[in-house]
């Protein structure tokens, strides 16, 4: 792998046996990431994959890059240290709905708020896969699981709404097996700052087909793929998202013969926070699922601000250990003091 060679997906694959259940959506995401890597123009040695614990968090073992499989929920903290220690590194965080939003919700919030330059891929399968199927903070009300045999009663968190509330400047969504996934990754990578990507990932063993209402072939019409500057159309262009400007809520409108303007379909502006809120909060029933880059509005990144401040505060100062330890008022003792 010398500097000149054009890398391929294979160059980013390790020789480790991939240990997910056959049919798990994680495979597709892995392939998508491995396929995306060469197109980003990064060298494997400059890339670090950091994960917490969960099925999805095994991901780094399969990437021929640097990798750190840390502890449950804390991946963002390790990523922060890595990036601050070496801002040149290209840092990817791999996490699950439990890892990022249950035990790790606080770190997810703070890495987004601080806007550390990194990509956060949240594999949302609405379940705890690794620990055998307990419901997670994104599981829908009524989810029967080993820990909720009579159905869960707590309202689910919305990963993207949470990310927006936490101050995220890039929020996107993808689907494990969808061909657009590499594009979402490329956009996330291109964004400077914390890029939050929720991936709907099918857990074939514990939560099979929970996303089928919009991922199944026959339901693909429920996918609203957003593109900056383009109208919010779905269902093959027959429907669109418009705005009820009185209620200040989005609504679904029919589009006749491609005339989306007349139907009042919104043009996607990723910088519009208000619309972003509405898009990620659309209910599952009666609405499509917003996919692609929902929101993007860059802001200064944390590590660059830290580096900048470190430089400014150091400017003109010459590190000198002897001077450092001698600092402050000092005095000379010239003779042995009197004994007591």
């Amino acid at each position: 792998m010398n500097e000149m060679t054009k890398l391929t997906a294979k160059d980013f694959a390790t020789d480790q046996e991939v240990r997910w259940c056959p049919g798990c959506g994680d495979y597709a995401v892995l392939k998508a990431v491995q396929r995306t890597m060469p197109e980003l123009g990064v060298r494997p040695e400059n890339v670090v994959f950091v994960s917490g614990i969960g099925c999805s968090s095994r991901f780094p073992y399969y990437m021929e890059t640097y990798g750190f499989h840390t502890i449950h929920g804390r991946a963002p903290t390790f990523a922060t240290g890595i990036k601050l220690a070496n801002p040149e590194l290209d840092v990817w965080i791999i996490t699950g709905d439990g890892d990022a939003l249950s035990i790790g919700g606080n770190h997810t919030m703070h890495i987004l708020r601080r806007n550390l330059d990194c990509q956060i891929l949240l594999f949302n399968n609405e379940i705890y896969g690794l620990t055998k199927g307990q419901y997670s903070p994104t599981s829908r009300v009524g989810t029967r699981s080993p820990s909720t045999p009579f159905g869960s009663v707590d309202r689910p968190a919305s990963p993207c709404a949470f990310a927006l509330g936490s101050g995220a400047r890039f929020v996107a969504r993808g689907i494990d097996v969808h061909k657009n996934l590499p594009d979402v990754f490329k956009a996330a990578h291109a964004h400077r700052g914390a890029s939050f990507v929720e991936i709907y990932q099918n857990c074939i063993v514990y939560n099979d087909d929970v996303f089928a209402p919009f991922t199944a072939k026959e339901n693909a019409g429920n996918q609203l793929w957003l593109k900056a500057g383009e109208p919010m159309l779905f269902a093959g262009g027959t429907k669109g998202i418009a705005l009820d400007r009185d209620q200040l809520a989005v609504k679904v409108v029919e589009v006749e013969g491609g005339d989306w303007q007349t139907a009042g379909v919104l043009v996607h502006d990723p910088k519009n926070r208000s619309v972003a809120h509405m898009l990620v909060e659309m209910p599952l029933v009666g609405f499509p699922v917003a996919l692609g880059v929902v929101y993007e509005d860059p802001a200064p990144t944390f590590e660059s601000a830290v580096v900048e401040q470190n430089m400014q505060a150091s400017a003109g100062k010459t590190p000198n250990l002897q001077a450092l330890v001698s600092k402050g008022q000092s005095w000379e003792v010239t003779k042995e003091p009197h004994a007591i």
Binding site: M1, T14, R43, P44, E45, N46, V48, V50, I53, P60, Y61, M63, E64, T65, Y66, G67, F68, H69, T70, I71, R74, P76, T77, F78, A79, T80, G81, I82, L84, A85, N86, L89, N106, H107, M109, H110, V306, Q309, N310, A313, S314, K317, P319, L321, Q322, L324, V325, S326, K327, G328, Q329, S330, W331, E332, V333, K335, E336, P337, A339, I340
Partner: protein, 578 residues
Amino acid sequence: MPATIWRHSPIFRPRSARPQGTTFGVSAFQINFGSSAIETAGDAPDVLVAMNPAALRVNVDALKPGGLIIADEGEFGARNLAKAGYESNPLEDGSLAKWQLVSFNISQLTMDAVKPFGLGNKEALRCKNMWTLGLALWMFDRDRGPIEEWLRTKFAKAPELAEANIAALNAGHAYGETAEIGGQIPQHHIEPAPAEPGLYRTVTGAEAISLGLVVGAQLAGLKMFFGGYPITPASAILHHLSRLKEYGVTTFQAEDEIAAIGSAIGASFAGSLGVTSSSGPGIALKAEAMGLAIMTELPLVIVNSQRGGPSTGLPTKTEQSDLYQAVYGRNGDAPMPVIAARSPADAFDCAIEACRIATQYMTPVMLLTDGYIANAAEPWKVPDMGRYQPFPVRFHDEAPAEGQPVNPYARDEKLARVWIKPGTPKLTHRIGGIEKNAGTGHIDYAPANHQKMTDIRAGKVAGVDIPDQEVTLGEAGGWLAVVGWGSTFGPIHQAVRRARGRGLDVSHVHIRHIWPLPGNLGDLLRRYKRVIVPEMNSGQLKTVLRDQYLVDARPVTKVSGQPFKISEIEAAIEEALA
């Protein structure tokens, strides 16, 4: 031979406010709030209350190095400064660096406190002394009851004055408690013995640790990354380090203690020296991540500034009760070196030692200090940096032969694994918290591998090269050894010295390396008929010693948030010899 001086908590007898006919106890010194002058029992004073610049100017030189100045910053305006002949504000220009300085707007705080009583400005300000006394009573754990009583008697005719003064007293006391002020006062004070000629400065433990960490990272040739979360009394290290950016130090105030240690471990993975710091409750939160650092064998320094426990406990009081937590407090077999500093000045060398062990052995290291050491200041002979041996880190950067795996768990003769910095070509690898293959570091659940790795982790730590234990004072054998660690050094040393002066066969053994223990320690301890271990806890080092050496080490415990008195150790010595 010059002696160290030990002084226990003073008792205040404010002159202007002295309850007639009341004695609160025998006073080691007095503070006269009327004039801000200080009388002591013949020695340089420990505390100066400066109600204005003039009072400061007149009295400060009498204050011993490291002593505490409490200043009313409200009175340090341009006019008062000029009147006192100051060209710049001594509270801000660093000229008081030799001492510890705490300053508040006491005037304002007092005015606020007595507002409800509707006094005139002048009368209100007169309550300042009581505010300050309240703060002092907080710091020295004295009861306010007698003062209140006395105020009520004194102002029997003007009850609103009594109440205003009591309100000020209470406000000062509350301020200390709420703002978690305390411990800054050297509750005991050890002069360097003997004070060799040379350049001296004052240093607090927190400062010394910060300097030691910076020096340690530099000796290792590394940048330092410090991840911390504020907590009393550990915060001061974060504060100090955040000013030292030109030494390659990055500080990060994390969202909590877990994020703090996580970021530090991440930074170590990326090739910096990761450091984190906290106190008991925060250290508890870091335990899981410490296990990860042990498993991934990354260098890391964890500073624990111990305070009174359990739980939130007594945040401003000193204690040594986190030794169990340091040595044993993790899930799984998770060995980790532990070092304890004995004084502010000693903390500097301990911090460097922690950096050395962490980087040379690829291991987290815990450095124990305590509230007293962290906050107290003492004179420190400025070290000659030329005499510190560098211990440069060599990152592994050789690509394996074609077709050979990367082996991040390859080891040197010290059992330290190689450290590979992300960014290095052809050495990409993955590590994590699941048991690792002894070579490739891949996940490996095989029984034999787990046994092997468990043994390696234990062996590596057990094999850390630390100096043999010396006898701190006395003989290498005999009737009685008094074994101590950490900040109890002072009173133990003095008590042993005194006992020896009375002809008793007793020696002082002060342990710096808590884990692993010095190789000769068992043999040494067995040469004494009796061994006692005074600790500011319920007997924690004692457990380690008895376990390791099966010597009948007897605990001498004190868990009051207060350091030992020399007399208490002397009594224990007498008892052990009886």
